[in-house]
């Protein structure tokens, strides 16, 4: 595993609400619905809860089921007891999420979540081998950080956001007679080394759980992957994480860093 770069910014109280690590793959012959049932039995002790969700749409490559003629599998959620961690599986995706549920959980840090993802992915691949299913052919991976910047914590009005984000002008009030209602924007960067792209988005929202107004600030890196080598997979995630943290820090101001208790 790549060591954390010593100069990588670190925050004691980052606004992160969810971290997502996932891979896209193709399985020749396809994943069948009974595999999902068997897999559930295998991980039930750690992930006792189960939900079905609509499948995520195909991204860079067409979903295999388009060609196989099989009906699409749902996206299956396997949740741990606290629902802080969940595994999402569909015909062409394996995703591991850590997320806040009560809002009071401490962020366990990237390295912990990454290691959990790797362990779960290894277990899933072992399961497929045990079932005689073809090895998944990886074609893309994604790392996403979802930040909830609560209204009361760092800002009160949309015009305050100019003080938190370096790419917004200090004065975004629009001048006399105008009231800024909301700020919504997106940026897209190339990852270093041709490792994909990093999308950044900012959108106001209301959190269902507590009906709090938040600014959702997402950073999502995505890259193609041709190797199935685990070390290379981890290297990609570590590189994407570094890019996300550096871009996050670059796009936010010192005032915001104070709010999130930046340490380095």
């Amino acid at each position: 595993m790549t060591a954390r770069p010593s100069d990588l910014p670190d925050y004691e109280a980052p606004p992160v609400a969810e971290v997502v690590l996932g891979v896209n793959f193709t399985i020749p012959g396809g994943l069948k619905v009974y595999h999902i049932g068997l897999y559930r039995e295998r991980i039930k002790s750690k992930f006792p809860k189960f939900q079905e969700q609509p499948p995520l749409p195909a991204q860079d490559v067409p979903a295999f089921s388009v060609f196989s003629g099989s009906p699409p599998l749902p996206r299956c959620w396997f949740l741990d007891e606290s629902e802080n961690r969940l595994i999402q599986i569909q015909a062409d995706r394996f995703i591991h999420n850590w997320r806040k549920v009560t809002g009071k959980e401490e962020y366990p840090r990237y390295e912990v979540i990454r290691d959990e993802f790797v362990a779960r992915w290894d277990e899933f691949c072992e399961f497929l081998v045990d079932q005689g299913v073809s090895k998944p052919i990886l074609n893309a991976c994604e790392l996403a950080y979802v930040n909830h910047i609560s209204k009361e914590a760092c800002w009160t009005e949309p015009k305050d956001l100019g003080r938190l984000f370096s790419f917004l002008a200090n004065d975004i009030s629009g001048g006399a007679g105008h009231t800024l209602e909301s700020v919504q924007c997106g940026l897209r960067f190339k990852l270093p080394g041709g490792n994909g792209h990093l999308n950044v988005s900012m959108t106001p929202a209301i959190r269902a759980q507590d009906q709090q107004e938040i600014l959702r600030f997402d950073l999502s890196a995505r890259g193609s992957l041709v190797s199935v080598d685990k070390a290379q997979l981890v290297e990609w995630f570590d590189g994407a994480r570094e890019a996300i943290v550096r871009v996050f820090t670059s796009l936010t101001t010192k005032e915001a860093h104070l709010c999130w208790e930046r340490e380095t």
Partner: protein, 197 residues
């Protein structure tokens, strides 16, 4: 309100535009710019009416709307393109989900978050900025009813968990009353237009 089942037609979503350059800043409709890359964690469909409405015989129409792009595991509802009246009443809509089961003593469940998202999506697409805030009330069976009283006109719209959207409109000036289902956005826009007419 007793109304017949509505039929729902299916169609495919319009693909999002691609081809953003690096560090391209888009100050509106960000979801269209990002939709092609990602997002294991995004939530509600927030695009405007240029995208075809989805529907299938097996799924409620409101749910088709609510699920569009619904690949997040966290429940947040984007508010940037909501009209002010809807933004204000959104917390009230969400609080309905916290009702206890059997809240009406007739065994009704509370409305689900998915239904709230569906309601918001429909009203978001209705593109009526000038409406007053509606009364928000739970409906028997787990539905949500919105009620507007504007002068001598009254409008009730009920979103049911089975996927129907029903309305009752009353014109107290001409002593007229009509109830029916809302089949599509044009119906909804027309009704809201009638209300503020």
């Amino acid at each position: 309100m007793m109304v017949p089942n509505m039929s729902i037609t299916a169609s495919q979503p319009v693909p999002s535009p691609r081809g953003l350059s690096d560090a391209d800043v888009q100050l509106s409709h960000i979801e269209e710019a990002l939709a092609d890359d990602a997002t294991l964690s995004a939530d509600l469909l927030t695009n405007k009416s240029n995208r075809a409405f989805q529907g299938s015989p097996s799924r409620p129409l409101w749910q088709e709307v609510a699920d569009g792009g619904a690949n997040s595991t966290m429940d947040v509802i984007p508010t940037s393109d909501l009209p002010a009246w809807l933004r204000i009443c959104l917390p009230r809509l969400l609080r309905l989900c916290s009702l206890t089961p059997n809240w009406d003593s007739y065994g009704s469940p509370p409305p689900t978050l998915a239904l709230v998202k569906g309601v918001v999506s429909w009203l978001r697409f209705a593109e009526k900025e000038t409406l007053p805030e509606p009364e928000v009330v739970p409906a028997s069976g787990g539905g949500i009813q919105l009620e507007w009283y504007l002068g001598r006109r009254e409008l009730e719209i009920e979103f049911t968990p089975t996927g129907q959207i029903e309305y009752l409109r009353s014109d107290n000036e001409h002593n007229e009353e009509k109830e029916d289902v809302i089949k599509d956005l044009d119906d909804l826009r027309s009704l809201l237009g009638w209300l503020i007419g």
